[in-house]
């Protein structure tokens, strides 16, 4: 194992050298760094050209320039070495500083989208695999491929047009017409129809329920002016939490496991008390506090599960812990909603909350919740855009993997033993179906750092993609190579991690030492 890792790492270093040389030379020959000055008729044109030549070392042939770059860059890679030197950009800013900031922006932009795409994509994949060739399967497949094939810049422009400009206009006079309410109801009815199975009568009944639910919800939200003063309130939090408790128990332990169900419900009861207890504390909220409270919440869940005892404490603890976490999330969401009017009426936001550009509103002043909402309104659209296009990959992979697993002999064996469908799917099939996805997830997390060039451009995020493209346009090699170095290292490392994880997850795969 160790020799394997060492061998891979040595190979990775060689690959990095080779690839960086290629990228450097290709970039150096990709354009004319003096193009704009050549058509300048400034009296000091020669002087400006000379300055640019000095700044970019253009009088040194690219091959030699590469080695001078590498001699500085090597010090970043070798641990315990001298200071890292990736050079300066043409505007005189250190590349390491540029990279640090760009990485932060990119990670902020892409993390939520990637996590959501993984969670939603896998869920959709599993569900469609279990309902293969149903209306739901075809519907999801169609939508996934549709989104996959849409160009992201176009999706982004549409999202801005309707999700930001249109929605903000709506918020200035939030009245939903009867027609729109009907449409919402019909869409819900259609979705319910697709996602249920069985006889036509049963599905139509579900569609009717869906219609009534959506129609009623939209009508009610409109009536109480929810869009301007959103919130759950204790009752909704409690109802949703009970639902979560049942759902989580169903998936993790099965409703027959009464101990697990009761632990989840007890956690919900504690949560309702805690809802009141933490409100004054949350008013003084910080990120650290939210994280600590989150940890505490999960701990409470685990403790409750542990003390419920029973034949399988672990199941209790999982169910109660998950319920606690999700309920805590609801309470957090509720608190953010309470801050909405303050954010909405802030004179920097001025009643147009959903943003089309950037990562934050300049000069916004406010507490943790207002700033949190500001980040949310800025990340909402890019996250949706990125998520939509990457859903397809995950859902298709997990669907294929799940289908394959469901036809395995050991699934038949499990069924033959008399295990319930829940246990077969959740325990035997689902977990194994995730193994091939480990590679995909590892790669995608690696790709996170590389940035999303077009999305960053359209939403005016100055992340890695923008840094790369802009530097490339100016023939500014140092930032280009800085981005390459980070992306290259991350790709190689996560490649290695994917292989190692695979062998850990699947005992049939062994790395050869």
């Amino acid at each position: 194992m160790l020799t394997y890792i060492v061998r891979r790492l040595i190979a990775a270093v060689l690959i990095l050298f080779g690839a960086s040389f290629l990228v450097y030379i290709l970039t150096a020959y990709s354009g004319d760094p003096l193009a704009d000055l050549r058509q300048s008729n400034a009296p000091n044109r020669e002087q400006l050209i000379q300055q640019r030549i000095d700044l970019l070392d253009l009088d040194v042939p690219p091959i030699l320039r590469y080695f001078s770059w590498v001699s500085g860059a090597v010090r970043c890679v070798v641990p315990f070495a001298l200071t890292c030197d990736l050079g300066n950009s043409v505007t005189g800013i250190e590349v390491t500083q540029l990279l640090g900031r760009a990485m932060g922006q990119t990670i902020m932009l892409v993390t939520a989208a990637t996590i959501l795409a993984i969670v939603i994509g896998i869920t959709l994949g599993i569900v469609t695999a279990l309902r293969q060739y149903s209306g739901l399967d075809y519907g999801v497949t169609f939508m996934a491929f549709l989104f996959f094939s849409l160009p992201v810049f176009w999706v982004a422009v549409l999202l801005k047009e309707f999700g930001a400009i249109g929605f903000n206009n709506f918020l200035s006079e939030p009245n939903i017409s009867f027609f729109a309410t009907m449409v919402c109801g019909l869409v819900a009815a259609f979705l319910f129809y697709l996602s249920t199975s069985g006889a036509l009568k049963r599905r139509l009944l579900w569609a009717a329920i869906g219609f009534a639910f959506a129609f009623g919800l939209v009508w009610f939200l409109d009536l109480v002016g929810w869009f301007l003063t959103p919130g759950f309130g204790l009752i909704v939090v409690a109802l949703l939490s009970v639902g979560i408790a049942y759902g989580v128990t169903l998936l993790t332990a099965g409703l027959k496991n009464r101990k697990a169900l009761y632990s989840s419900l007890i956690v919900v009861a504690i949560g309702i008390v805690a809802y009141f207890a933490v409100q004054p504390l949350l008013d003084r909220g910080t990120l650290l506090m939210v994280v600590l409270l989150g940890i505490a919440t999960v701990l409470v869940g685990l403790v409750v599960g542990y003390f419920m005892g029973g034949y399988d404490r672990r199941q209790n603890m999982t169910a109660a812990g998950l319920t606690a976490f999700l309920m805590g999330f609801l309470i957090l969401l509720d608190r953010f909603m309470q801050a909405w009017p303050a954010y909405f009426n802030n004179n920097r936001v001025n009643g147009r909350p959903i943003a089309t550009i950037g990562a934050s509103t300049p000069n916004l002043e406010g507490d943790f919740w207002v700033r949190g909402l500001d980040t949310y309104t800025h990340l909402l659209l890019p996250t949706i855009a990125l998520m939509l296009i990457s859903l397809a990959g995950y859902s298709r992979y997990s669907r294929a993997s799940m289908l394959e697993i469901m036809n395995q002999d050991y699934i038949r064996t499990a069924r033959a033993k008399g295990l319930g469908e829940r246990t077969v799917v959740m325990r035997h099939a689902f977990r194994n179906a995730l193994i091939p996805l480990a590679t995909l997830v590892a790669f995608d997390i690696g790709a996170l750092i590389g940035g999303a060039i077009i999305t960053e451009q359209v939403f005016a995020f100055s992340g890695m993609g923008q840094l790369f493209v802009q530097a490339l346009g100016r023939q500014d090699l140092n930032p280009v190579m800085g981005v390459f170095l980070i992306t290259g290292i991350v790709a190689l490392v996560f490649n290695l991690v994917a292989d190692l994880v695979y062998s850990v997850l699947d005992p049939r795969v062994r790395v050869k030492a």
Binding site: G31, D32, A35, R38, Q39, S40, N41, P43, N44, R45, E46, Q47, Q51, R52, D54, V90, T91, G92, R101, A102, Q105, E161, A164, I165, N168, L281, D283, R284, L288, L292, A339, A342, Y343, N346, N347, R348, N350, R352, I354, A355, T356, I357, G358, S360, P362, N363, L364, E365, G366, D367, F368, W369, V370, Q457, V458, F459, A460, S462, Q466, Q470
Partner: protein, 588 residues
């Protein structure tokens, strides 16, 4: 696992401390949303810019980016500014300059009393001298061929104007500096300005005791002579500080690095995202701005700028002009669109050698150029009323342009005249290779139209288009007979004229050399009277058309747009764009 009492206590204390520090200090949520414009009365606007800010020294080689100059324009006052008609307007509240003698040309600059940086330090001798030292390149003794000597200040502007001056005299109160030129210099008015960088900051940052030491240093250090380079270690440190210390994308912790002498001062910077400027409370030497706060947001994508304007996130946008951008702007209610000619113009130049050695062939070719069609196809979608540019030297909309066009002979080429071209060719079928940037669709359009028209008159046109990264290097290389490309006109000043049209000058790619034009240009650069300058420039312009230099095609179109509530905006082709009259902006 067992824990000792102490470690338990430490653990409990640590957790308690962590929990306590998790609370926001002030009772949050009490007072959100009253910050920012609390005491504002004049309002605030947000402006979108394409490039992110990188330096508080927009005069240096690294800081020479448009956005840095614009921020400098907001935060610095100077002896003059350039208005939207490209005229030099003096700012006498800041200081005055006057020609005290025409032979030798002597100009005295006086900063008014009370004019100071935002830390209270007055603008006087040190600032005047440092600005002069940088803009004159007085100490530079680099000889690039012999690789000896040093260029001290990496100044991005031209040093040829102040390079003619000797070490200036400073008055006793330090507020007046007198420059004496060794020969008359036509653009003396725009040759000198106060730099972004306060002398007292540069002095201490560059290792000197104070501003006086810098004054002393500049007055005593030997003038640069490339023939006999010398070391000036003290000046070297000062110059290095000047070259690099002001480059930053975050707000420096030391306020000395972003001092203001103008209406606004930088308050906040979010790297690569935005910058906020607020009133400089001490400022009282120039037009008083109406707005209390200006926020600049960096949005590279033109469409993103338009949608941000539509969503109310920005109030003024300056997107890259294109027909799509214009169409989407026109679809928005409640905004104003400002359009106008920018300073860059496309032109076709004919070599004075090869197939075009004969003036008749050149003129014949010029007669075939369909400028109307080119304008219609390239910038028609942006401005249906756009007209071809009819002068090589003057920019559309200036006084000189209106004076030059009727007399410079451009009228002859207003419409293609195939008959005249055929007559001049007299049956010959010269082969013309036209070089252009094949990656630029506008140039490809122009080439296609020109080639089509020229072939009607009997020319054989060869497509010499080169990829975007190669065509620039091919300029002046003699591998083509004609070339289509663009110049960026400086807008103000006449010094650029001989740069392009002087015999053997650096940017003269087609080998134009005409005695009459050269004589006019020689006189032009030593003439300081604007009326005479215009006469001489018209002479050059006329000779360019008469001798068959080629033809100017069109000036590019720029587009700005703004929320209707913002008042006082006009289109400005100059370097600072829409910012030129920011003090007149107000919010309704």
């Amino acid at each position: 696992m067992r824990f000792g009492r102490t470690s338990k206590a430490v653990g409990v204390a640590a957790i308690a401390a962590l929990a306590l520090s998790a609370c926001a200090e002030s009772g949050g949520g009490e007072d959100p949303g009253t910050g920012g414009e609390g005491e504002a009365s004049g309002g605030a606007v947000t402006v979108a810019e394409v490039n992110p800010f990188t330096s508080f020294n927009s005069d240096s080689a690294t800081g020479n980016v448009d956005i840095n100059s614009k921020v400098s324009y907001l935060t610095h006052q100077d002896f003059y500014y350039v208005n939207d008609a490209l005229e030099v307007i003096r700012n006498e509240e800041f200081g005055t300059y006057e020609v005290t003698s025409e032979d030798p040309l002597t100009v005295a600059y006086t900063v008014n009393e009370g004019v100071a940086w935002s830390d209270g330090e007055p603008i006087d001798a040190g600032d005047l001298l440092l600005s002069w030292a940088v803009q004159s390149g007085y100490f530079d003794d680099e000889n690039p061929d012999a690789e000896t000597g040093t260029t001290y200040f990496a100044y991005a502007g031209a040093t040829d104007g102040l390079g003619l001056t000797s070490l200036p005299e400073i008055s006793e109160d330090g507020r007046t500096m007198t420059l004496e030129y060794s020969e008359p210099y036509a653009d003396y008015e725009i040759a000198f300005g106060i730099l972004d960088t306060p002398a007292h900051v540069v002095a201490t940052g560059g290792g000197l005791a104070d501003e006086d030491a810098l004054v002393e240093l500049i007055q005593t250090a030997p003038a640069g002579d490339p023939e006999s380079p010398e070391d000036r270690p003290e000046l070297q440190t000062v110059a290095e500080y000047w070259n690099t210390a002001f480059d930053t994308t975050t707000l420096p912790s030391d306020p000395a690095l972003y001092l203001s002498s103008g209406p606004y001062v930088v308050q906040d910077m979010t790297p690569d995202q935005s910058m906020t400027l607020v009133r400089n409370e001490d400022y009282a030497w120039g037009p008083e701005p109406a707005l209390d706060e200006i926020t600049i947001r960096y949005i590279g994508d033109a469409n993103a700028q338009v949608q941000a304007l539509q969503n109310g996130e920005v109030d003024i946008v300056q997107p890259q002009a294109s027909a799509d951008t214009l169409a989407s702007l026109e679809a928005i209610d409640g905004i104003q669109i400002l359009e106008g000619e920018e300073l860059s113009f496309d032109h076709i130049d004919l070599n004075y050698s090869g197939v075009f050695e004969d003036e008749n062939v050149r003129r014949a070719f010029m007669y075939t150029i369909p400028r109307d069609s080119i304008v219609e196809s390239v910038i028609g979608p942006l401005d249906p009323e756009a007209e071809p540019r009819n002068s090589q030297i003057f920019d559309i909309g200036t006084e000189g342009y209106d004076a030059a066009v009727p007399v410079n002979g451009s009228e002859e080429f207003a419409e293609p005249n195939i008959e005249e071209a055929t007559r001049l060719l007299d049956g010959a079928t010269p082969e013309v290779r036209i070089m252009y940037n094949a990656d630029n669709p506008n140039r490809v359009d122009a080439y296609t139209l020109i080639a089509e028209s020229a072939e009607q008159a009997g020319f054989t046109v060869v497509d010499g288009g080169l990829p975007g990264n190669e065509w620039g290097a091919a300029l002046g290389g003699g591998t083509y007979d004609a070339t289509i490309f663009g110049w960026v006109s400086p807008g103000v000043g006449v010094n650029g004229v001989p740069q392009l049209y002087g015999c053997d000058s650096a940017s003269n790619f087609n080998g134009f050399c005409d005695e009459e034009a050269q004589a006019a240009m020689d006189e032009l650069i030593v003439t300081i009277d604007p009326a005479e300058q215009q006469e001489l420039s018209i002479t050059v312009d006329t000779r360019l058309f008469e001798t068959g230099y080629g033809l100017p095609l069109f000036q590019s179109i720029g587009i700005n747009a703004a929320d209707e509530a913002v008042q006082g905006l006009t289109f400005n082709p100059g370097l600072v764009g829409v910012w030129w009259n920011f003090w007149e902006w107000s919010v309704a």
